[in-house]
């Protein structure tokens, strides 16, 4: 177990710049999840930590020691690949023990470590099989087993579950969480999956185009996204955005929509009167309400029952707008509905896309 420090790390592939100065610190035993759209540089960052990719600029420290120039074998880190990358000519036991064997560990120690890992991952009956005779989920578990037998300083996971079907993914997610609880190893986990990120992470790192957008606990990112990108990326279905102008009338702050409706805000913001803003609200926070002064009329385009709840695809002034509700009555919603935005759940972003700073304390 170890701490990992990433300081102003940049990466160029030739003339293409992929990471533009990433800073990140992991404490001993922390589980950090990296999320971001495809191509934003998550795998590149992970591979640099593992030593598979050179660091163009900046510094990576493991346990306080600079490792930029160290070969992967000298970093004592384990990585689980998306493709599993099992050695096809070795059976499961040999796959798991390879790292220990080439480090010339004692035979009893190897046997103990392998059987220990096999028991944790329920691989005992498969130890003599070759990878080609395993199912996807079993291969995944072998890949995890290979990582844990060595008891490395840290684990790196690059979308380890993305090749599995939904049910298996759920199951493995819980297993990874259990494993982390038992081993307490410092881990960095890359995923596209919202739920994986929310459920596994101590902290989430949201990346976009090679820049870290926000670092925080899952709920921090959900409740107080730092900018439009994070607001739109975290949460499913995604947050709705409306453009508006900031107004203070009669002592209360509000956002004026283009059609003239004034949406009340729960606090004042450090914004100029009339400043262009983007108003954000999550589909699950929108209220279906009877018509009132601050409610909006929207047309119903599509109704999607998910079983658990219902997603309404609405048109609000011709723009798409989603609502998520648990109320089954929405299944029969008419051609139009009225929606209202509870002020505590509104997010306000300034012209540059940054979260607007509120003047009073509150959830806004």
């Amino acid at each position: 177990m170890a701490s990992i420090d990433i300081r102003n790390v940049r990466k160029n592939f030739g003339i293409v710049s992929v990471l533009h100065g990433v800073d990140l610190s992991l404490e001993n035993g922390e589980f950090v999840v990296l999320v971001g759209p495809s191509g934003c540089g998550k795998s590149t960052l992970l591979r640099m930590i593992a030593g598979l990719e050179e660091v163009t600029e900046g510094e990576i420290r493991i346990d306080g020691i600079r490792v930029n120039e160290r070969a992967p074998k000298d970093r004592d880190i384990a990585m689980v690949f998306q493709s599993y990358a099992l050695y096809p000519h070795m059976n499961v036991a040999e796959n798991m023990s390879y790292g220990l064997r080439i480090r010339k560990a004692a035979r009893e120690k190897i046997t103990a470590a392998v059987s220990n890992a096999a028991r944790k991952l329920e691989l005992q009956p498969l130890l003599a099989r070759r990878p080609k005779a395993l199912s996807g989920g079993q291969r995944q578990r072998v890949a995890m087993g290979r990582a844990i037998v060595r008891q490395p300083k840290a684990f790196l996971f690059d979308e380890p579950l993305s090749n599995l079907d939904a049910r298996l993914r759920e199951q493995m997610r819980a297993e990874i969480k259990k494993l982390h609880r038992d081993l307490g190893a410092t881990s960095i986990y890359v995923t596209h999956d919202q739920i994986e990120a929310m459920t596994l992470a101590d902290r989430i790192v949201a990346m976009h185009e090679g820049v870290v957008q926000q670092v925080g606990s899952p709920l921090e990112l959900y409740d107080r996204p730092a900018n439009l990108f994070v607001a739109g990326f975290i949460g499913s279905p995604a947050m709705n955005f409306l453009s508006a102008r900031y107004e203070v009338s009669g002592g209360t702050a509000g956002a004026r929509l283009p059609d003239g409706t004034l949406i009340a805000l729960s606090s004042d913001y450090q914004l100029e009167e009339g400043a262009a803003v983007t108003l954000g609200i999550r589909p699950e926070h929108v209220e279906m309400s009877p018509a009132s002064e601050s409610s909006l009329r929207a047309t119903v385009d599509l109704i999607e029952p998910t079983g658990f709840g219902i997603i309404l695809h609405l048109g609000l002034h011709g723009l798409p707008f989603n609502v998520f509700t648990l109320d089954r009555a929405a299944l029969t919603a008419g051609p139009t509905v009225t929606v209202a935005f509870p002020p505590p759940h509104l997010h306000l972003f300034d012209e540059t896309g940054k979260r607007a700073a509120s003047l009073q304390k509150g959830t806004g």
Partner: protein, 277 residues
């Protein structure tokens, strides 16, 4: 199985049969002539098998001709060439497949260039180069020349096999604690056995049957290889077909044994299960 697919299968098999017969018939004829006694060779007309079989040609070739010497020379030359080329080609093929380095593009272009000229053009210059080095009329000289001319193609062949092995396997090995060379030897090489077998086989047969350089660089029987040796059965006035064919049949044996030996590595699917997708 419906009628259409039965018909399709039959047609398919028939096509394969036609091809196999066409390809193997010369070999069959070789065998047939080699066991036909001289007195029946021209007297029986065209028959699929002689009425009386004899091994007199084999006996003569083995006991009274220089054939055993040719055979030994060929074994040395082809074997050494195959081993050396495969060794070098697996190293260079790995480099081309995995590393980016300055001049890589030009190196590949240069290697391709060497494959573009008819070898006949090069016989004289090569003779001129080898003769002061004392490498004409020697097996070593032949091995050097064959190695040089086989390496480019063998390199590309090996490169394509290395390209087929997921890079992540090596990366996983490196993270597990292996050096680049250990990852190559313990992970990549075992998975490239089919490629190595194919390259060995290809180079061995190429060197075994090479005639042009063997003819031009070697004079006299002591260093002659088997293809050159075959020509000794052609005398000024006649061709001793029986003996020539018997020698030919004997020459097929090592190639057959060789492929029998490597065929279990030629099977596909050695990397199955490594990566998903």
């Amino acid at each position: 199985m419906n009628r259409y697919s039965t018909f399709g299968t039959a047609l398919h098999r028939l096509a394969i049969l036609c091809y196999v017969v066409f390809a193997l018939f010369p070999l069959f004829w070789l065998l047939k002539v080699s066991v036909t006694p001289n007195d029946l060779l021209y007297s029986e007309g065209v028959r699929m098998w002689p009425s009386r079989m004899s091994f007199e040609h084999f006996r003569f070739v083995l006991a009274h001709s220089a054939f055993p010497v040719f055979f030994r020379n060929s074994m040395i030359v082809a074997g050494a060439t195959a081993v050396i080329v495969t060794l070098l080609a697996s190293l260079s093929g790995y480099a081309l497949s995995r590393f980016t380095f300055r001049g890589k593009y030009w190196l590949v272009a240069l290697m391709l260039l060497t494959q573009m000229f008819p070898l006949v053009m090069l016989v004289a210059p090569i003779f001129k180069m080898l003769s002061p080095l004392g490498l004409t009329n020697s097996l070593t000289g032949l091995v050097v020349v064959y190695t040089a001319f086989n390496i480019p193609f063998a390199t590309f062949l090996m490169q394509s096999f290395f390209d087929g092995i997921p890079k992540e396997l090596e990366e996983a090995a490196k993270i597990d604690g292996a050096t680049q060379f250990m990852a190559f030897r313990q992970i990549v090489l075992p998975l490239t056995l089919p490629g190595i077998a194919a390259t060995l086989g290809f180079v061995f047969t190429a060197a075994w049957s090479e005639l042009l350089f063997a003819l031009m660089l070697i004079s006299g029987n002591s260093a002659a290889t088997f293809p050159v040796g075959l020509l000794t059965f052609v005398s000024k006035f006649s061709v001793d077909f029986g003996q020539m064919m018997a020698a030919g049949v004997l020459a097929l044996i090592p190639a057959c044994l060789f492929f029998l030996f490597i065929q279990r590595y030629l099977v596909q699917g050695l990397t199955a299960g490594a990566v998903k997708g």
